[in-house]
Symmetry: C2
Amino acid sequence: MATGRTHRPATRSRGIPEATVARLPLYLRALTGLSERSVPTVSSEELAAAAGVNSAKLRKDFSYLGSYGTRGVGYDVEYLVYQISRELGLTQDWPVVIVGIGNLGAALANYGGFASRGFRVAALIDADPAMAGKLVAGIPVQHSDELEKIISDNGVSIGVIATPAGAAQPVCDRLVAAGVTSILNFAPTVLTVPDGVDVRKVDLSIELQILAFHEQRKAGEEAAAEAAHPAAAHRGDSTEQGPDGDVPAVMPA
Amino acid sequence: MATGRTHRPATRSRGIPEATVARLPLYLRALTGLSERSVPTVSSEELAAAAGVNSAKLRKDFSYLGSYGTRGVGYDVEYLVYQISRELGLTQDWPVVIVGIGNLGAALANYGGFASRGFRVAALIDADPAMAGKLVAGIPVQHSDELEKIISDNGVSIGVIATPAGAAQPVCDRLVAAGVTSILNFAPTVLTVPDGVDVRKVDLSIELQILAFHEQRKAGEEAAAEAAHPAAAHRGDSTEQGPDGDVPAVMPA
DNA sequence: GGCTGTGAAATCGTTCACAGCT
DNA sequence: AGCTGTGAACGATTTCACAGCC
């Protein structure tokens, strides 16, 4: 259900699974690290370890992109960096606006990894007139009256919402009406958007609640570990990293 | 679903799917909203709409918790709020420490939704001696030398890492050694943790890259929409919200 | 009549294991 | 010999559709 791809428009056999797309940035980061250390090639095993997944999954993921490896050898780091960047659309520059320059919005604007790979903060927007003109991360904050003009003048298609929950939906509506088709929502609300617009959310309290659930379960099982040896108690999976099995589905709501 | 119909204390309903756990906070939020508006009952259809999922999924999710609804009527809002809170472990108070009080750490400390539901910021920790003693969100920042003592004195089991990428793994190791078993990682790195420790990550640049992928694909399909009517172009799914189909897998690494 | 609870079917994602290239 | 690429098995999640209760 992720990205509704009802029927294939062209003859493209391009169906990269959402779960794979969600891991490509992880691989890219690991590869960038190797690239900086001038490592020429990696095996699926090594790269998988660096990205925190298992090698079978990584090979399967890469197989959706094409055959970019060499049997008996591994993958060429530079070549893979390029291929994945291209696939993710990072070879072009994406202007982004951040709406809601409070604590969080300011932190996001200051976040380094933002500009690094393909993204550029085109504007900061806030509803508070007192904020207008102030510099945050070296960028002047503009009043939300200008929102539509900013979007259109800069050709912005990605918007980040860091407003309070109550303001998020109206802001979202205006962004979409102005032409934004991808939204990253930090406000703790469900956003409703028309078809063809992607929304992803980042929600601190949801993450904490999920952790609390597991934490509680651990406490319960700990208590149940009276009969067994007083030492070893946990079961659990492999050494795999957390939100890797992530499939945060992006839907053209 | 399971076996017995009555509440089994020891034989607790084994194994709620991860995907379901990840949605419970969403339902809880929607229910809290209804509760504040004094709505007594909701149908699966209404609640699903408020949470941004479809009703079949919601009913299936609730079926894992037990039979908390009434056929022909719907769900009692207050009762469900209680049941889900209990299931998520929110009826108890979870002390949390935030490590790394930079822009992001400060924003997180100031985040309201933090304290609201079951979580309490027990301490703020930073490696910079100049930060020590400063008040952030009304809480004094403590130096990281105190980390182990803070964790143990406060019985902290959940830690939030908001340090630069390079510091994340060492901080993580210390948190885990001190007794933390759940970590929410905002640093752009893969964390390695022992079995029994859960890690979830929140990563701005990964989210943006996933959006860029879809954005790029839209641009491509737009170009392919020459043959068809110059108007309608998008297909896509229902009105469902984004990261709901989320399965951010938490693994007892 | 309306709405929940749930088997069964469909879909999606992961893991296995090995054929095939270098 | 080593390591990728991938069909096939497996497992998890979503959706369907309807029986069962109010």
